[in-house]
Amino acid sequence: MKKIILLVIASIFILGCNSKEEKQNIKDKPITDLSIYNLPEKWTNQDGKDIELKDLRGKVLVMVMIYTSCKSACPRLVADMRNIESKIPEEYKDKVQMVLVSIDPTVDTPERLKDFSIENKMTGNQWVFLRSNEENTREFAAVLAVNYKKISPIDFSHSNIISVFNAEGELAFQQEGLGVSYDKTVSKIKEEAEKVE
């Protein structure tokens, strides 16, 4: 009898495979079709706190995908992020969130991300470091059109893309490549931050 009950429960689960549908928003306005806040995944930040992407809603996001043990491209990407941040006018600073997402969740624990943020002097409130599991990371990269692949136990190859999202979580601009001018990125951030009340 117990087995039957278990099977009945299991079959309910099979039938009810639409749990992801129609989540209610915490904030008033519905999430738009192109918003990354449609992604339901949970992330952990550098303080070990669990967050959903939605928690970032309402701010302009500047995002990049990195891994902390990276020796070649990432330091430059991180430097780019810092430079971009320094170009944001004071009046917009609290409307912009700088987000670094790890593509190496096994190595990049919250502690490691915390250390990395300290080493790189990215400890202010404007900096968020995120990690999740491999699957969510792959999905998030798919949304950002970031390609990455583990090519050895400690190394990844990955696209060098910095993305700007508006307050609704819609992709507003992408800067591709290393050592490119970030003037456009900065002006887009200002433009989007202007719209934030």
Partner: protein, 261 residues
């Protein structure tokens, strides 16, 4: 009171029967792919061997009819409901309605589906998309060999399919059954893989040595290895060119599953 209990018990039995049928169908539609290792043609920086753990793979790509069944219980993935983040405007392009695949062949592979939709479908069946390395591992088998990549006829077969039009509306299971018991890895549609976005053929990765330059320049004679490289290059280049919300009519999918102990 007792009659009611018996009635309930019967319902349970019927449900049990139904559940066991649906479970057995799942296992019949999948085959075990044995563990092994191989050197992929592209994707690793230094031609390293990739190890594949044993896993289960769908025998056929997911069909229009099967996809329709999925949409019945997953309204968020219907043509009129899906969010643009998850699929572009050509999603289920030839379907005439949310629950109607129009003139398409019910047994043909569902195409014009995005990576997000494919992934969701598989997760709903308790499955997942195959990784790129797993997919290529299975795709290198012909009828008799695990690795037929160096066979000239095999490569010619694949390349001649690339030239054919509209194979996407053919029924599944009409191409050859490979060594593992899997159909349609070549000859029907191209397929999404979980980590399709791990490809670097655009010159982004400096470590990527297999660029098109190596493939197209200076080869005087075309031998089996060239054909083999070319066929794989086409697949990898295609994967490298698509984004997760893209949908095209020659791109479908099938699901994989871990083997639980």
């Amino acid at each position: 009171m007792e009659a009611q209990f018996i009635k309930r018990f019967h319902y349970c039995l019927i449900l049990l029967f139904w559940v066991s049928i649906s479970f057995s169908q799942v296992s019949e539609d999948m085959v075990t792919i044995g563990a092994g290792s191989y050197v992929p043609l592209y994707g690793t920086a230094d031609k390293k061997t990739v190890y594949i753990k044993s896993f289960l793979l769908d025998v056929y790509p997911v069909t229009n009819q099967e996809y329709l069944e999925f949409l019945k219980t997953n309204s968020a993935y219907r043509k009129s409901k899906i969010k643009r983040l998850f699929a572009n405007t050509t999603y289920l392009y030839e379907w005439s309605g949310d629950l109607n695949f129009g003139k398409l062949n019910p047994n043909a592979p569902v195409t014009n589906v995005s990576w997000f939709a494919a992934k969701e479908y598989c997760e709903c069946q308790g499955k997942r998309l195959a990784t790129l390395d797993e997919w290529e591992y299975v795709a290198m088998a012909d009828e008799k060999r695990k690795d037929a990549r160096s066979r000239e006829e095999f490569n010619k077969y694949i390349l001649s399919w690339y030239e054919k039009n509209k194979t996407y509306n053919n029924s599944v299971g009409k191409t050859f059954k490979n060594y593992w018991g899997v159909y349609d890895m070549h000859g029907l549609v191209w397929e999404w893989t979980f980590d399709f976005n791990s490809i670097f053929l655009s010159g982004e990765s400096r470590k990527d040595k297999d660029t098109d330059k190596d493939l197209f320049c200076g080869s005087g004679s075309v031998n089996a290895t060239d054909l083999m490289n070319y066929a794989a290059f086409m697949r990898y280049a295609f994967r490298g060119s698509i984004k997760a919300n893209y949908t095209t009519k020659n791109l479908g999918f099938r699901c994989a599953k871990n083997i639980s102990n």
